[in-house]
Symmetry: C2
Subunit: 225 residues, 2 copies
């Protein structure tokens, strides 16, 4: 596929420009309002493009959505896998600690070129939307992310040899939920904390989530089953 050109047009001048502009607009709007809350005309307006062009490039609406979702998913998977491999390598021959695994899972989200990139923030909100949606959202998540997640769970299994299988998966579920809500950036935390915390402060989110879920996972190993 052509998802290589996430941030850089690749060939003929600006041949792709309209196409990627549509993707960018779709990413932003889908993240804000969900699939059904966005019309193709709104996307076209945001991208400053004719309505029919979205259909021409991506086919049906749900295909545009999937293309938007997929575009950065591969990047993310690659970065996470690499971080995990590095953690494994630097801990060898021991298994990496839970903390190191959590770092590998969360660090690439924030410490790339994209912490300051609003498009990536939109994408995270889009993932949050998909992860919590009941219908084909779950299938999308599984299709694109499960192989990567499997590797992380495998690492956790080695780091927590006493943990029952079930608890590992529920632990990941907690991690995923916490992450998802943080990335949805609903602004609810701001109001709840009276300004002490900011939903947009993903750096702080990273710090606190890592500490929280690390303890959550380590407890699994200790509890008597």
């Amino acid at each position: 596929m052509d998802s290589v050109s996430v941030s850089s047009p690749q060939d003929g001048a600006r041949l792709e420009s309209r196409r990627t502009r549509i993707l960018d607009a779709a990413e932003k709007l889908f993240a804000e309002h969900g699939y059904d809350g966005v019309t193709l005309r709104a996307i076209a307006r945001e991208a400053d493009v004719d309505v029919a062009l979205a259909n021409y490039h991506f086919g049906r609406k749900h295909e545009l959505f999937e293309a938007t979702f997929m575009r950065r998913a591969e990047l993310l998977n690659r970065w996470r896998i690499r971080a995990l491999d590095e953690a494994i390598a630097s801990a060898a021959p021991e298994a990496p600690s839970v903390r190191a695994i959590m770092d590998a899972y969360l660090y690439p989200l924030l410490h790339g070129p994209h912490l300051s990139d609003p498009a990536w923030r939109s994408y995270y909100a889009l993932v949050a939307y998909v992860n919590n949606s009941t219908e084909w959202g779950g299938k999308l998540m599984s299709r694109f992310f499960n192989p990567m997640v499997d590797r992380f769970i495998d690492a956790l299994r080695k780091a927590l040899p006493n943990a029952p299988e079930e608890a590992l998966f529920w632990g990941y579920h907690c991690l995923s939920g916490a992450l998802t809500l943080a990335f949805a950036q609903t602004g609810r935390l701001d109001k709840l904390s009276g300004g002490v915390c900011s939903s947009e402060d993903l750096e702080a989110a990273y710090t606190h989530i890592v500490a929280f879920v690390t303890a959550g996972f380590e407890q699994i190993n200790l509890s008597v089953e």
Copy 2:
């Protein structure tokens, strides 16, 4: 308001029946497809009722949504507050433990009359949808749940005297996210675990989430800031 009659019609025979049937249908469909994914006609069809009747009873579409959301929110708040008060009373004069607080927060969700009630499950999925939605969802959550959440955070503050404010709120954020995702019942965990876990097994969710987030909160108190 009339949100007292959640599961039982109160007065004139079946005067409320069509009205509550609309609420029930809206609850189910909004939970499954989100706000924009549901049409008033679909709700009317599900409730076996004329289209115009929803407008007659609830006004505009977003007012129907809010009515649906609010109906059970008050119940839920009452149960949780009561559970928290009991935990405080039975621990007095000490502050209740983190574990006891988490129990008070989570127990009422599952151990009422409604673990087997599919309507309550729909409602939980609806809350999950609202909690993660970017637009007015956050405002709805804040409006209906924040006072109750404030009380729980206050209890946590006393149970974790060394915890910095910021960490308390981010901890709650993790808890809320984990809970939300579990209640969305996306079925993703089933596939990921290869059948070991079931998204529909809310009892198991309860057990694992309580253990996970209790450890997550307790770690806050230990870490040197």
